[in-house]
Amino acid sequence: MAVTNIIRAIGRRVVDAVWRIGVVARFFFLTLIYSGSCFRRFHLIIKELFSTGVMSLIIIVVAGLFVGMVLGLQGYETLKRYGSESALGVMVALSLVREMGPVVAALLFASRAGSAMTAEIGLMKATEQISAMEMMAVNPIARIVAPRFWAGVISMPFLAAMFSAVGIFGGYLVGVVQIGVDEGSFWSQMQAAVDFREDIMNGIIKSLVFGTVVTLIALFEGFDAPPTAEGVSGATTRTVVTSSLAILMLDFVLTAIMFRGA
């Protein structure tokens, strides 16, 4: 009897999970279908770009600077053992452009902009703003979800690029200004080793994928949140947890595809 109950509970969870994936997929397709109107009225996307992208800049810049400084310190300590301190610029730049930039920027984006999107839409639902919109014959997916979705997708690569750029500057401050690595080697080796297509483009593709996934999760959780204080807080937590895990899993998959044998 106990075994039957366990199997039944596992089965229910699997069915629920598959069902939820289907609902998310439907939500995603509806968002794409109703995206036309927000591109015709681009000011809706610009408004969201400000609240998701521009408002995330400070946390991205500060985090990028410290991550770059830590990379500079750790990188120097490791490279010194092999007498390759001059390759510090390459190490910092490749770490940031290929991995840290897209991944850490996406994690920060999920916790700042993603959680804000979920809470905002969840509260709009709880205060009947979404019902009011529907009663005014305005499709909430077209008016609320689509502009936020595209703002998230567009802003993510820029935030990742900003993170990497500031991170490289942080590495420069520690490596060149503080420790005294040769400035010429730092920049010239970086310029020679970082490939636009292999490294920068792949970083951009990663950040686009992360931006799509994080924004979709945040918007879906907000739209799906029970219209109560507890419901909204639970949805916000789920956004951060699910997005973070999705970013890390997808990063492995994308890295395996992009850099295998490179």
Partner: protein, 267 residues
């Protein structure tokens, strides 16, 4: 469908989670009239309103608005029908990221190609009608409950709807705001030549403003008539509701085990 009625409800049944919420509802809302639907919380009033707005599909029966059966419409048809409706939500449901002005202008911008100068004049006129022209630049968070309800009212009538629905328009209002909202609902209905349906608990204010009342209990209509007829009604439920009596068909005590048993007293 009668030429004189805008909304007709026939044999409407709605079951949620195997629980009957509405059973055999028949209602008629004549054009130009203001009709109240009253009853205890949870008796199905808001569910009924959501059926009229096409947000829910009935288990049986239908709601016909302006000659169209609501649940048979596809999304485009439903949205076309909703453009003829306005709905005031319980606490206003103003868009919190928009100013008072933008809230009222919202539907005009979404559904019309009117130039911004004309939208400006229309918004100012709507806000003037509810006495809040001077609050046009304020955000919803800066408004009192009564002001928010008036802005929501201006937004509800922004496109001069044929049908206006009010979901508990008096909930949580002070006596002055309550009178103001009641007066505005009546005046706007008459000025626009609209038909209004108000779901409410408010006996005194409704008595002054509505043309007729439907009383609901447990998902069925238990009485109907003019406010004066219902005030004089000898039906136990109506009398208890109208006079606010503590005990009656709706008992004061929620059903439970015997009181003495709960106190562990021996007989």
């Amino acid at each position: 469908m009668s030429l004189n009625s805008l909304v007709e409800i026939r044999d409407l049944n709605f079951t949620y989670d195997k629980r009957p919420v509405l059973q055999g509802i028949n209602m008629t809302f004549p054009k130009g009239k203001l009709v109240a639907i009253m009853g205890l919380s949870g008796c199905g009033k808001t569910t009924l309103l959501r059926h009229i707005g096409g947000a829910l599909k009935p288990t049986k029966g239908y709601v016909k608005m302006d000659g169209q059966v609501m649940h048979e419409l596809d999304q485009d048809g439903l949205y076309a029908m909703r453009r003829k409706m306005g709905m005031l939500f319980q606490f206003g449901a103003l868009f919190t990221d928009m100013s008072v002005y933008d809230n009222v202008a919202f539907q005009m911008r979404e559904h019309t190609d009117l130039p911004e100068e004309i939208i400006h004049d229309l918004v100012i006129m709507k806000l003037h009608a509810v006495g809040l022209r001077g609050a046009q630049h304020m955000m919803p968070s800066e408004l009192s409950g009564g002001m928010a309800r008036r802005v929501a009212l201006a937004r509800t009538v922004a496109l001069d709807p044929m049908l206006i629905m009010y979901d508990e328009p008096f909930a949580g209002l002070d006596p002055i705001s309550l009178t103001v909202i009641g007066d505005l609902i009546r005046r706007l209905n008459d000025a626009l030549g609209a038909t209004s349906i108000s779901v409410t608990h408010e006996i005194q204010e409704s008595r002054k403003m509505v043309d007729s009342v439907y009383f609901m209990a447990n998902g069925v209509i238990v009485a109907e008539g003019t406010p004066d007829e219902l005030r004089a009604s000898d039906k136990d439920f109506v009398r208890q509701f109208v006079h606010g009596e503590m005990d009656g068909p709706v008992p004061f005590h929620y059903p439970g085990v015997d009181y003495r048993q709960d106190l562990n007293l021996r007989a």
